[in-house]
Symmetry: C2
Subunit: 473 residues, 2 copies
């Protein structure tokens, strides 16, 4: 669905031929030649980087999956602390907090009648366990809206099945549209007296692999067992319902544990600025993952991208003016908690953040830079974008937002950059067993590292900042 | 890896422009014009067929997976009997026999140390259950040969891991090469004193899905627990072994049941020939499947192909001279038993079979016709091939063989046709959870149906047969 990467990059290079200042409107700020030289060096180093992939490979080899609040997530924090020190960063530390933690130990289903066959499912985060021998008659809806419109008589005591697919898009908009059913099914089903929820996986793949993800938006609402069907199993269930003309009974066996306050933590590391060390450029990704995959794309890739990019800056002969801080957040996945992001905001909201950005769409190439900065900072933003154009990054609007790791902080007014990654392939793999190292494309990871290295460097070095003030504290 | 289907077919059509007899060498047999007209009609009907896909869809919807010797296989026989009668065939019946039957109810593994993480496995057919709390240190080999060459000291009390990939080929030769490790690992490991066997899945996919398949060639040799790792998990285990430099311990939990003589059966159906009903053209596929998938490609596709092809012939205004018999065999998957094929041979070896063929490579397009017929029958074979050329089928050699369903019969001297199917994609899916309906390409299935319709019709109608005698009984 997207043009080949090499083609895009080549076009961008053609557009950007000549010094970047040639694109700069009159009166706009410019970059000194030594800064431009450093940017050029960082671009090339990013595109040739092997460190990021090695970091990712090490994470999935030594830790693998690392769900929030588990011993595996604690091992990921230890791994990250050791790795960040080895990469030469300053002030490496863990900031602990607690998180809701949910883990399934069994998730099985089968059609009992009229035509028995097993179904592949993944229990949704927050789902309670099923009672012994749990089964029910299935009633199918094509959307959450259709379920909302159903009569209680049609649903009561039944297992609700929302059979809605996901649209593949570059900007990931299909996920936002489909995740509503995952978040809403249990709550709506429960209000109508249903006994359980099944949804078609919120993803774009067709493998017999189900997508995990949190169910109801608040754990206290997830009072009916909920699970996602692998796409071929959703197909099968729909066909059995359609052609049998008889009641279809499904057995559901979910065993899960929920803990409202399990140990988690953020891992922080810094490059200390040479002139304004108290001013912070924040780069975030998350350490935790879902359980069935290895969290290679979600979000091992983000961890690798921001770390490798910062490492290139840390290796420069002169540190940039401002500080760069890496936030490897814990507990991003549990819904309605954003625990790592909340904990970071609570601990650091009084510090001086000049900008925040987050990497959390795997290895998808950055194709657009959106932002939310003050009007006064738009010239600086254009300057930054002009240096990303050779990497195939288009300018975007100024209505961007943060993800879960930086969202709580940017809600306090911190300028945000959103490096939009190509999400076309991401939701084939996101939250599934297929989120493994072999899915990662080195070349795409390298483009991300180059983008982040250039952006973090300029944000930390250039005159003025994205708050629209050249002299902010 | 192969040219687009449309392109191939177009080339073949160009080569075959003009009446087929234009290709016929002088003195060779020819086909009467009414037969040629019927062939043309069957080709077109096959390429437009919807019945085959509907049969397959019905099988995976009403039955799904159907392992040999289980209640699901029995349901498949009932389904097949009903379906074959509804399709209008004569003499529909079940011929029962018994089969070795093996089923796993649990198949789990994890790396315990030094770096814990779960591993996705599928237990190999015939594997015994593991004792409670079973674990062992892993020792890796890159091939079965390397394991054979190992000293008992290096292997004793350990879990052997054969980390050998499969080469993707059009003719499926890669499978033959790699399946040796699946069949041989347990026997060799046991002889060296090892406690268990792990192999990289015998397949070409990279999904986090493991390939099932029978292990040791005789159940009595499968005395150590054996399992196949999903490809990303084989990668992970290899990396942990390589970079930890420490002993790597894996826990293995397999619970399985083996029954040496479970009920199975063949389902037969016929088109009775109008002139020589005692002469039989045998078309075979198998009804049973592995448990994790739906057996859509292996071998629901084969069942659909031969049934839909025969249905087109059965719908002709005049039946062909000889009889056509469909054999939907039971228990093809259990190793070293070929139970359906053996049972068929034992029951029918004294009948007059003029030819036998089998469809068991999913929906892969037929690209070549191999055979094993007497020298005297080669002119008939060339005539047959000339009528398949417009469908993109190349001539092959006369060294072909049968699969498991017809192998025992053709070993008694029955002429065999091998319609070589393109196996490039087949081993991505074969014996995995991904063997589901959505993997089946209607267009490829239709090409198979057209090939089989033309071939079965000509074998049943033409002067002379593949035994090299125009007057055989």
């Amino acid at each position: 669905m997207r043009a080949p990467a090499g083609h895009l990059a080549a076009c961008a290079l053609i557009l950007a031929v000549g010094p970047a200042s040639a694109q700069t409107p009159p009166g706009a700020p410019t970059l000194p030649s030594d800064v431009l030289q450093t940017v050029e060096k960082l671009r090339a180093a990013g595109l040739a980087d092997r460190n990021g992939y090695a970091i990712l490979e090490d994470l999935v080899t030594r830790v693998g999956s690392r769900p929030a609040g588990t011993a595996a997530e604690a091992r990921a924090r230890e791994w990250a602390s050791t790795m960040l020190r080895a990469q030469g960063f300053a002030n490496v530390r863990v900031e602990p907090f607690t998180t809701p933690s949910w883990q399934a130990s069994r998730e099985q289903a089968e059609i009992l009648s009229p035509w028995p066959q097993p179904l592949v499912i993944a229990a949704l985060g927050g789902s309670p366990s099923t009672p012994e021998g749990f089964s029910g008659e299935v009633v199918r809806f094509t959307s959450l809206e259709a379920l909302r419109a159903a009569s209680a008589e049609a649903v009561r005591e039944r297992i609700v099945f929302i059979d809605e697919g996901m649209v593949r898009t570059q900007d990931g908009a299909g996920y936002g549209a489909t995740v509503a059913k995952r978040r809403g099914c249990a709550t709506v089903a429960r209000s109508l007296g249903a006994r359980a929820c099944l949804i078609r996986s919120a993803g774009t793949n067709t493998d017999r692999i189900a997508h995990q993800g949190w169910g109801a938006t608040a754990p206290q609402d997830a009072q009916v067992p909920s699970a996602a069907l692998a796409p071929p199993d959703a197909d099968t269930l729909a066909r059995v319902l359609q052609r049998s003309g008889e009641p279809v009974r499904v057995r559901l066996d979910i065993q899960a544990r929920f803990s409202p306050a399990a140990p988690s933590g953020n891992v922080l590391a810094e490059i200390t600025g040479r002139e304004k060390p108290q001013q912070i450029v924040l780069a975030a990704a998350h350490l935790d993952s879902w359980s069935l995959g290895q969290g290679a794309l979600d979000d091992g890739a983000g961890v690798a991208i921001i770390t490798a990019a910062a490492r290139l800056i840390n290796a420069l002969p002169v540190k940039p003016r401002r500080s760069i801080r890496l936030l490897l957040a814990g507990a991003e996945e549990p819904v309605n908690s954003d625990s790592g992001g909340n904990a970071y905001r609570d601990a650091h909201r009084n510090e001086s953040h000049v900008a925040a950005a987050e990497s959390d769409v795997g290895d998808g190439r950055v194709w657009r830079l959106r932002s939310r900065v003050s009007e006064g900072a738009l010239p600086q933003l254009r300057l930054l974008q002009s240096q990303l154009a050779p990497l195939g990054v288009l300018p975007g609007d100024n209505q961007g937002g943060g993800g879960s790791d930086i969202g709580p902080l940017v809600a306090t007014g911190v300028p945000v950059l959103a490096f939009n990654q190509d999400a076309s392939r991401y939701f084939d793999v996101h939250h599934t067993a297929n989120d493994t190292l072999d899915r990662v494309r080195l070349e795409d990871l390298q483009q991300n590292i180059a983008v982040w290295a250039v952006a973090l460097y300029l944000l930390a070095e250039m005159d003025g900042d994205l708050r629209g003030s050249a002299t902010g504290n």
